[in-house]
């Protein structure tokens, strides 16, 4: 790939990935932000259109569901008109989009509650679950990966490899039940199911959240450990700065933590960001098992009652989290990596 033969007045980046838009705008970080935001918009639009389309393919609607099997076709038609379900899909989508852009996600068809109110109740639960899962996984993964990478092929390395391979092969619903069996049923240390709001005490709340977040966090821990360990070993074996640091007489732990880990943390940030989308989808089944009143539980209920307004909102939230996480990862890169910060590439 060669740079195009133009005669630019501004210094042109030779990188073909840098678009014309970004050449004219100022700071490299700013133009990256603009570019990524612009890319996120069509993705979100695509996701919402796709959801709307798929949900419209599904036979049966909330009107039939609400009235039950006894309802006459006239009753159903009347309720459909009241709920706006008789409009063509395109019209309904545009109306929905108009509201969504201004933060109004509509009212639940079943409970008539504004969806944004329902979300406000349930988002904190799912948010806490995800946050704790990340916390558990990273707090464990970083030291374990460092220990393993310090002596590749050593005893710590082998143990961590076996554990993480197993952990990556176990389904989270199975893991959740094993945890319940051991810590709730057999040992009786923690409650098996149920949710305690934060207002009822921090400890009571944490007690209820430990098992569910561990069920999500453990496979993540395995994944991060493997990833970080692999990256660290690569850095230690192949990178010249490691050789330089060693030649200067820097201790092996010091090289590992201060030099190699600093570089590997970039990769880890990426992976964590990309995981977030998949992770939040995984909360659906865990919330169901532990009876946590989060987004996932709301979604399953909404699917059962054909409350597509709520389903649509949940999908948008999930997709938004995934897209925003990607965006944040890119921006973190820009902030942390001097090569991007100063626009040298």
């Amino acid at each position: 790939m060669t740079a195009t033969a133009t005669t630019p007045r501004v210094p042109v980046s030779r990188d073909p990935r840098v678009s014309r838009l970004t050449r004219v705008t100022g700071s490299p970080v700013l133009r990256l932000i603009v570019k990524r935001l612009l890319m996120a918009v069509p993705i979100m639009l695509g996701v919402t259109i796709l959801t709307f389309w798929v949900l419209s393919l599904i036979p049966g609607n909330a009107a039939e569901q609400l009235l039950g099997a006894e309802a006459t076709p006239e009753d159903v038609a009347l309720l459909e008109r009241q709920l706006g379900l008789d409009q063509p899909g395109v019209v309904r989508y545009l109306e929905w989009l108009q509201g969504a852009v201004t933060g109004d996600l509509g009212n639940s068809i079943v409970s008539r509650q504004p969806v944004s109110d329902v979300l406000a109740d349930r988002l904190p639960v799912t948010g806490e679950l995800v946050l704790l899962a990340f916390l558990i996984s990273l707090v464990l993964a970083i030291p374990v990966a460092l220990l393993a990478a310090h002596k590749p092929g050593g005893i710590m390395d082998r143990i961590s490899m076996v554990v993480s391979t197993l952990g990556l092969s176990v389904a989270n619903y199975v893991l959740a039940l094993i945890l319940v069996l051991v810590f709730a049923v057999t040992l009786g240390w923690l409650p098996a199911i149920g949710y305690v709001p934060l207002e009822d005490g921090l400890w009571a709340n944490l007690e209820a959240m430990i098992l569910p977040s561990a069920a999500i966090g453990f496979p993540l821990f395995c994944f991060y450990t493997r990833f970080l360990r692999g990256d660290l070993v690569d850095q230690m074996q192949q990178e010249e700065y490691v050789t330089t640091a060693r030649a200067k007489g820097v201790g092996s732990w010091s090289v590992l933590i201060k030099h190699a880990f600093r570089n590997s943390s970039f990769g880890l940030i990426t992976v964590v960001g990309l995981n977030l989308g998949a992770l939040i989808g995984g909360t659906v089944i865990i919330e169901q098992i532990f009876a946590l009143p989060g987004i996932g539980q709301m979604l399953l209920q909404a699917i059962n009652t054909r409350d597509f307004v709520v389903v649509q909102a949940a999908v948008v939230i999930f997709a938004l989290v995934a897209v925003v996480a990607n965006l944040v990862v890119d921006l973190l890169y820009a902030v942390l990596d001097p090569r991007i910060r100063y626009g040298s590439r």
């Binding site: 069509p42 695509g46 197993l166 039940l177 070993v233 989808g281 089944i285 169901q288 890169y333």
Partner: protein, 297 residues
Amino acid sequence: MAVVEPAPSFAIGPEIDEAEAKAGIRGRRRGGNLGTWIPAGLIAFVVIACFLGPTLLSLPSPVGGNILESNQPAFSPGHFLGTDPNGNDILSRLLNGGQSSLWIALAVNILGLVIGGTLGALSGYVGGVADTLIMRVLDVLIAFPSLVLTLAVAQALGPSMTNTIFALAFFSIPAFARVARSAVLRLREMPFMAAAKLAGTPAWRMLFKHLAPNIAPQLITFGMLGMGIVIIIEGALSFLGLGIPDPAPSWGNMVATGQLSLSATPMLVVWPSVALLVTVLAFNLLGENLRARWSGR
């Protein structure tokens, strides 16, 4: 680097990255071919047990058991692993349930591999606007919380094997497409491609005769990891009652029914869990090993 290519993976389950393949180098040196043959043998064992086991061992039917024979312990006469609360033979349910898990995983991965592989290869080979367009559409699918939609579709169409397969296959396409595309981008610069092009080979022939055989190993390797992922997701759907419909057995719905009496009869959960773990582990090990091999380091 500003633009980070997401690791190819289905939207749920363990994500994979190239750095992991590097971690496998040592294992290959130590174990030689064993790292491939042991998981492959394990998979063969699971497949044979699930598909031939019920006939060879002349097991009772997995459904319609006698309620008088419910909850028998393991090793009781006629029921090697005992019976569930409905009096059905657990071993029979386990093996018959495995059949559907394996069928679904195979069908989903073949569909994903063929459709996603073709799209990705085309996208990478043609490049330009078509590439951008295809990849942006796939970005939408990747950002999409696929389990959510699968749940909605499964619930609406009524849980069935075909519906599960189509729903899951749809969302495995972008992952395969990404793998195929990056493989093609690497191959495009190879001398043999230039030679073939100079010889006037038409595009379709380039794709099927030159590119396809070269990207197939990578796609199949990714498919091995995909098998594990799909088995887990299928289990999740059945667990939520949206996969294989009751009373037909599946590992997922066996775990779900066992969960109801977890403290009294934990073995009801343990057996299908072990089956899930062993099968997924074998596919993951095989996939990892093949990948370390193909990455050629």
